[in-house]
Structures are given as C-alpha cells and as structure tokens.
C-alpha cells in the first residue's frame, strides 16, 4: 500500500522515531494509561503533525519525548540514539519545545534578555549579547524588546520570544505544542509563517501537535490522528486534502472541521 511504503521510506532516515510508546499517569490503583502503543517516525527536515481532540494524549506524547513526563514504556529514538528516563546535556541541544500558552511559558519576573540568555549560560555558550540580539531579529522582534518584561508584550510577541528561546541552543528538532491556539486568528498566521520560514532557514525538524486541521495542512507533510491515547491513522497531507482517510474517526474529524468553512 502507498502509505505504508511512505512509512518505510521515512523510517530509513528518521531523526525522531517513536515505537510502542505507553505513557502512564498516577500510581497504584489510580494509574491511568494516557497513551497506548503509539508509533511514528519523523524524517530529518520533515514536519509531522499529531492531530486529535482535547485529551487524546497528543500533548502527552510531546512531553514524554521532551522528558517532562517520567512514567513511560517503549522506545524513543533520536538521531538513532535510544532515550533513557534521564536525559543528558546533549539532548537539550538537540530537541526544544514551544509551549501552547505564551502567557504561561515566559517567567513573569525575568526580562526577555534573561529568558533568552539563560540557556546559553547553562550550556556555556559564548558571545551571548550578539546571540540574543540575533535571536530577537530572527523571530521578527527588534532588539528594542530585549530588556522588556513579558507583561509589556502582546500574546504574539510573547510566542515569538518563546520560539526564540527554543532556538537559542540551535536544536535540530522542535516540538510544537499547539503553538497558535492561544493567539488571535490574525496573529496565528504570522506565527505559522514564522515557523515555516525558520524551518526552511535553519533546516529544522518539526513535530507539531494541534487540534486544528487547517494548521497541519499548512505546516506538515504527514499526519497522525490520535483518539483516546491511540493513533488511529497515519496519512499524508495529500490524503487528508483529498478527504479520503480510511478510519471512520478521521472522517468524523474532517467533517467536524468542515463545519467551520462557510460555503
């Protein structure tokens, strides 16, 4: 079949490979399986979308990959290296994350300068002043923003800072956790275009989580649809565009999203 061929091909030069991932929350009797047997792979330079409704476990997959969730089974391979429960320093220079809510992801008492400098300090990177200025320019903010506090910035500007922070360590893989869902519609497009440009310029690999099918259609080449902690279907964006997915849940999701479009 066509899609499985694509999957095989992807696997060959995969940068990020997840197989048989189970994630649990809670302990003892209340232990709950949030993610069941999830497998997918993202090729180097590719962009992979994880779609599903709220509570489907898609954000949990991201947090598990980033090492923020501890209780998991399965294999997470990054650049061919299997991940342990504890992550080493090199890991943080390979993978970074952009969070959903820019109002909660920047420390309210730190200046933008401090937020962006800290990863450089932590990893002993030199010429910090230039790098911080360059990062602000890269995400379309001027250097005038450098010594401001987050409360002096709009939501879109904050998300640009969050993107800049994720890029400070020059990672290869970016985990994007609904990067636009907390923003105004007019700002959403700006941020998506910024992310698309950055991906091209810096040759990044994206793993994007969203519930918005229009966003994945714009940003990704391949999509996995999640429901109740399981992947129900992996397909290419072309398949989705032609509205010929195999699984009934995916068709439902597509139909629901079309309900938005004014005819």
């Amino acid at each position: 079949m066509h899609s499985s061929e694509v999957a095989q091909q992807l696997k060959a030069d995969a940068t990020l490979e997840i197989s048989n991932l189970d994630v649990f929350f809670g302990q003892g009797m209340e232990r709950l399986q949030a993610v069941k047997d999830v497998s997918f792979s993202v090729a180097k330079g590719g962009s992979f979308g994880l779609v599903g409704e709220s509570g489907s476990g898609k954000s949990t997959v991201l947090r598990t990959i980033s090492g923020l969730v501890g209780d998991w089974k399965g294999t997470i391979n990054i650049n061919g290296k299997s991940m342990d429960y504890r992550r080493d320093r090199a890991f943080y220079k390979t993978i970074q994350m952009v969070f959903q809510d820019p109002y909660a992801s920047l420390h309210p008492r730190h200046t933008i300068d401090r937020t962006l400098s800290e990863p450089l300090i932590l990893h002993g990177v030199g010429d910090r002043d230039d790098r911080v200025d360059q990062a602000l320019l890269d995400v379309g903010l001027g250097t005038a923003f450098r010594f401001r506090y987050p409360h002096q910035l709009s939501g879109g500007q904050r998300q640009r800072v969050a993107i800049a922070r994720a890029l400070m360590l020059e990672p290869e893989i970016m985990l994007l956790d609904e990067p636009t869902s907390a923003l105004d519609v007019s700002v959403q497009a700006e941020i998506l275009n910024l992310l698309a440009d950055l991906r091209q310029n810096k040759n990044l690999t994206y793993l994007l989580v969203t519930h918005n099918l229009a966003v994945v259609a714009h940003m990704c080449e391949d999509i996995a649809v999640m429901n109740r902690g399981e992947i129900v279907e992996v397909m290419s964006v072309e398949t989705m565009r032609k509205a010929e997915p195999q699984h009934p849940y995916t068709r439902e999701l597509l139909l629901a999203s079309e309900g938005y479009v004014p005819e």
Binding site: L68, R89, A104, S105, E118, H151
Partner: protein, 314 residues
C-alpha cells in the same frame, strides 16, 4: 545615578530622568531594574497608608544612625538627684527613670537594638523558611515529607514558650533572644513558600527551563524564589510587629536584653514598678514599640496591594 551609555549622555533635568525611568523599551539590564523599582515606588506613593508606614521605618533607621546627635544624654548616664522626673522637666524631654536616666535618650539608643533585632530576624528566618519550603515543594516525595513534618513540629510549639526554652538553655541575652525568635519564626514562611511552589512548579516556564537542562538548585533559586518573594516580603513586614513585640516580651521577662541596655521591652518591664505614680517610665517606650509596630503593619498592608501579582495585571 549612573546613566546608560546608549542613552543620551546629557540627561540632567528631572523630566529626562523620569522618561528614562518610565520608558517602555529599556536599553540595559540596569535600566530595566530601575524602571521596575520606579514603578514600584510610584504605586507605593499612591497608597498613603503604606507611605506612612514606609516613612516611619525610614525615620527609625535615621534615628538609629544619628542616635548620638539626637540624644541629649548618654543612654546609661545616671543622675539620682533627678530620678523619676516627669516629662518636660528641665533637660528631660520625656522624663527620667528610677536611676535618673533620660528616657528620650534611652529610646533613641534603643532604636538601634530594635533595628538590629528586625534586621537579624528578617535576614535569617524568612530565608531559611523560603529554602525549606521551596525545596520541599519543588522536589516533592520524601524530602517534602521530612521537611514539612519538621516544620509541623516547630509550628506546634507556642512561639514565646519555645523562645523561652531556647533562651533558658542558651542563657539570657539579646543575641540569644534573636536566635530564639528566628528559630521559632521560620515555619510559617516555609508553609507559604511550599504552597506557592506547588502552584508554580508545573507552570510552563518551569518546564521550559527544565527542558534547557537546568538543575534543581538553579530552578529553585532563580525561577521559583522570585515568584515566592512577594508573599514572603508581605508576610515578613506583617510579622515584624509581632517579632518586635516578642523581643520586647522577652526583654520584659528579663530573658532578652540585660540591664543597662536600653531595650524598649526591658524599659517597660523596669517601669512597671512605678506605673501608678510615674506613668511615663513605662508608657514612653511602649509608645515607641507601638509606633514602629504600626509602621511595619501599614507597610505590610500596602506591600500586599503593591506586590500582589494579580493586581499587576490590571
């Protein structure tokens, strides 16, 4: 004030300085700090009661610094011919005590002791409580259990009784009294700090710094402490009145400052014997304690409004 080199170097008049302090786009770390401080000062100024409290504390500090110039007598200078002189009598503004010592001068010099108590307690108990609370809250698990049970044990003792026990064990004296107060004052700060930590440890900005590979120590001191600071500072200023009163109480019981130190609590204790016939001996130091405690309470109330992060949004 040092000017930023990037800014126009000819900042001389106050309107330029104000513009420099209120700018939306600070040019340096220093300027960013100063604009924050300035906006804090602006909100303090708009709160008259807090400003009164702040002024009382400034006056306390000035009095302590310039005590030798303000006092008319030495704090232990006796003049038995003039014992128990009423307020306003020749050379004795607030009267004299049973040894003919000038009460005004003793209160002035006593402000140094009060300030020392305040500073030492404020530098030890809240810092220790903050450390215990944030470590317990951030790490969770067994460190949380152990640290918070120790906190509970300290909380279960009545404060003055525990302080009494410490002073009794270590010997009477102002240093031991301060140590005893600090040892009994930290548990509430640990509780507050832990509660604050629990609400922010799962915040995205903490996850973000974890994702950059920061260690627990760096996260606690650099990212969690700044968020706990405002509630701790407010609590400290509100507690300061109680701490001054506890120190005065220990002095009153004879377990704090020893004679002839002009500690306000000890002065009230000495004046107790003459309270009916010579009211001023105990009342004047009592008034001093009252004014300083009131100052701290007013400032604490005001700071709660100023530092409350929810208030910042509006």
């Amino acid at each position: 004030m040092t000017e930023s080199t990037n800014n126009s170097p000819s900042v001389t008049d106050s309107s330029n300085l104000r513009a420099w302090l209120t700018t939306e786009t600070p040019r340096s770390r220093f300027q960013a700090k100063m604009t924050q401080l300035y906006s804090g000062w602006q909100s303090l100024r708009s709160n008259p009661l807090a400003l009164v409290g702040f002024l009382i504390l400034v006056i306390l500090i000035l009095v302590a610094v310039f005590a030798p110039f303000l006092a008319t007598h030495g704090p232990s200078e006796q003049n038995l011919a003039m014992r128990l002189a009423p307020p306003g009598s020749d050379g004795y503004l607030l009267g004299s005590d049973e040894f003919g010592r000038d009460i005004w001068s003793r209160i002035i010099f006593g402000s140094r002791i009060t300030l020392m108590i305040v500073v030492l307690v404020a530098c030890t108990a809240p810092v220790f409580g903050l450390l215990v609370g944030t470590v317990a809250g951030y790490l969770g698990g067994w460190p949380d259990m152990v640290l918070m049970r120790i906190t509970d044990i300290f909380l279960a003792f009545p404060r003055l009784v525990l302080a009494l026990a410490f002073v009794a064990a270590l010997g009477a004296g102002i240093e031991n009294a301060i140590l005893a107060i600090s040892l009994t004052a930290w548990p509430p700060y640990a509780r507050i700090a832990r509660a604050e930590t629990l609400t922010i440890r799962n915040a995205d900005y903490i996850s973000a710094i974890q994702l950059q590979g920061a260690g627990s120590l760096r996260i606690i001191t650099g990212h969690i402490w700044p968020m706990c600071m405002s509630s701790i500072i407010v609590r400290v200023t509100l507690d300061m009145a109680g701490i001054i009163l506890t120190a005065a109480g220990l002095g009153f019981l004879g377990l704090g400052a020893q004679p002839p130190m002009p500690e306000w609590g000890a002065m009230i204790s000495a004046g107790r014997k003459f309270l009916l016939d010579h009211w001023w001996v105990a009342t004047m130091p009592g008034l001093a304690i009252f004014i300083v405690s009131l100052g701290f309470n007013l400032l604490g109330d005001g700071l709660r409004d100023i530092l409350d992060p929810k208030g910042e949004q509006s």
